[in-house]
Symmetry: C4
Subunit: 196 residues, 4 copies
């Protein structure tokens, strides 16, 4: 079975998630700039989550370029990833409404942590279905970036109860780390072509 | 007429349904873990419905692999299925808010029952449009899994008024039964290829 | 320019419209069957609008099968149709909440009337872009069904202020008229093939 | 990497944005025409934003016809554009609820200004990725229409604090300017074909 419909469905879900978070930002009743002030933390949490979902979409897009056939296991690993991503609007709203206080900030990290694990599981499921000659395995290598992110989320969850700004700084830092274009998959695809 | 646009539209509707249920989970006002407690049943009902919609998407995806042309009857049978699926967020929200009490739990089963019937109707409409040589008919055989699910939903609806946990256990059980990869369609496609 | 992206965008908008209407049906707070009673009129108006949007999607799907190239005029005529369709959830909610009272019922007809006109404009824009040899023109003939529907909506709008049930009966009647499979476009496509 | 999935994702996001604005228009509780009066400004702001999003979708559609390959930079420039477009429902709701008063009207202009800049950045990113022989660069020329719109938004933001109607008139005027079909890209594509 081809990857078309898997991509279309994932695109649909991520597109909806990225836009329904905006519904959480209620237009204020007053009409001065001061009326916007209470919306500011909700806006900041929206920007952060927009960037995270955009990174996931981007990486998902690249990952599926290495694969042509989709097994039942891959379908479910993908749905598992979408499940954790679907909780991002909820924790974003909770964190924004409570001005980045300890528990919501930690819970935001828990969802990022689970989503990152789900992404890893999806990667290994695809690699397993590709067999020995997996391009994706080639591209990932030790996947230090993925493993590092998961470790950093754990540190953020713990530090949220000590000082929230550390957790927030880690979330921003991990996002920036992934924003820098990642050429691992493109390089692996090129290497493969050269060898053929 | 091809299946492309039917798939795209169904994917769109299911992707939206699976994500708007998250809007039903309102981020709580408080910021402690205790504030999350009232959200717990809504969360559990969300997980259950996410899995059900994922199963429907998955099976729908496989079923359409057996067909190439779409008749007017198939279009409407598909819209009929989407109608019943579209009621899942409503009954999910109702069941979650009322902590899985009797009537909402039974009503959840009614919607699952109607959706399962709509799925059967869609199957038979496709089979009828494929004529004698239908691959889908080949794959389904007696469709004991589909018929059994419908029967189990009926039992769940009745037992909800006696003890809600029986109904909930049945909903979880049927979902697990479908989560186990179903190779009927893939096997039928392979058999067909071998015969050619 | 091809029709692919026009179809994808229209599918997206119609899929979202058909599902967000469900958000208008708020799960009731109580947990008995009696708690569902106030939701009943909202549910009925939802069913009616679901069927209307499904009919529009279905006919749109068929209409675009007759065309290959999309001009700027067609793009805007299509967006104009989507605009009127996008108001259906609003009037559906208004009519449902007010138990099909006079003004909301008439306003529902106004939106159906405008959408039907927008659909006609889209048809004629496509026909104009296809030139003399238009398959769509061939298929439509005098388009009595389209013109009749527009006239019936006008009658419904007027009669809503006299007796709401007449308007409601007309809305149901027109929907049923379109539910019966319309083979005009399929026949025109077949005729064309035979002639070639 | 091809443009397919970029188009599909952008279509999804724009389709959702254009439809969720309708959720901001709450069906009124009363059932007379008078009950619709408070909805009027929200409706007007909805129409304006619908047209703006439709124009963006339309131009995006044309722009991507000039390109075949998508670089990492283009993916992010596109997501940056989608971010600013995603704020349109928020400022639309704020402006509509406050009857087009000064600050919300100015803020609406700020979002249009940022979106227009994001669109320019996306254009230049695509041109840079196409190299010397860029069709898009050919089509845009000095891009006076794009630059003029950005300047007009700046004037509108300033004048909103002096007299709101000037800002509103500018928003409507710029929209009308873009509604008139823009044949620059089509002409450039034709010229290219003739030269080959």
């Amino acid at each position: 079975m081809g990857t078309n419909r898997l991509e279309a469905f994932s695109d649909g879900v991520i597109a909806i998630l990225i836009t329904i978070m905006v519904l959480e930002m209620k237009p204020p009743q007053g009409d001065g700039l001061a009326a916007l002030a209470p919306v500011a933390p909700v806006f900041l949490s929206y920007v952060l989550s927009f960037v995270y979902l955009a990174i996931y979409w981007n990486n998902h897009h690249h990952m599926l370029h290495t694969t042509r056939r989709v097994s039942g296991g891959v379908l479910w690993a993908n749905l598992h990833l979408l499940f954790w991503l679907s909780l991002i609007p909820f924790v974003t709203g909770w964190m924004g409404r409570n001005h980045f206080s300890a528990t919501p900030t930690a819970m935001y990290g828990v969802v990022l942590f689970m989503a990152a694990n789900a992404y890893s599981i999806l990667q290994w499921t695809i690699i397993a279905s590709q067999g020995e000659d997996s391009i994706l395995k080639d591209a990932l290598g030790g996947d230090w970036k993925g493993k590092g992110s998961i470790l950093l989320y754990l540190i953020a969850i713990g530090s949220a109860f000590y000082a929230e700004w550390i957790a927030d700084a880690i979330y921003v830092g991990v996002a920036l780390m992934w924003l820098i274009p990642d050429r691992r998959i493109e390089l692996a695809l090129e290497r493969r072509k050269t060898n053929d």
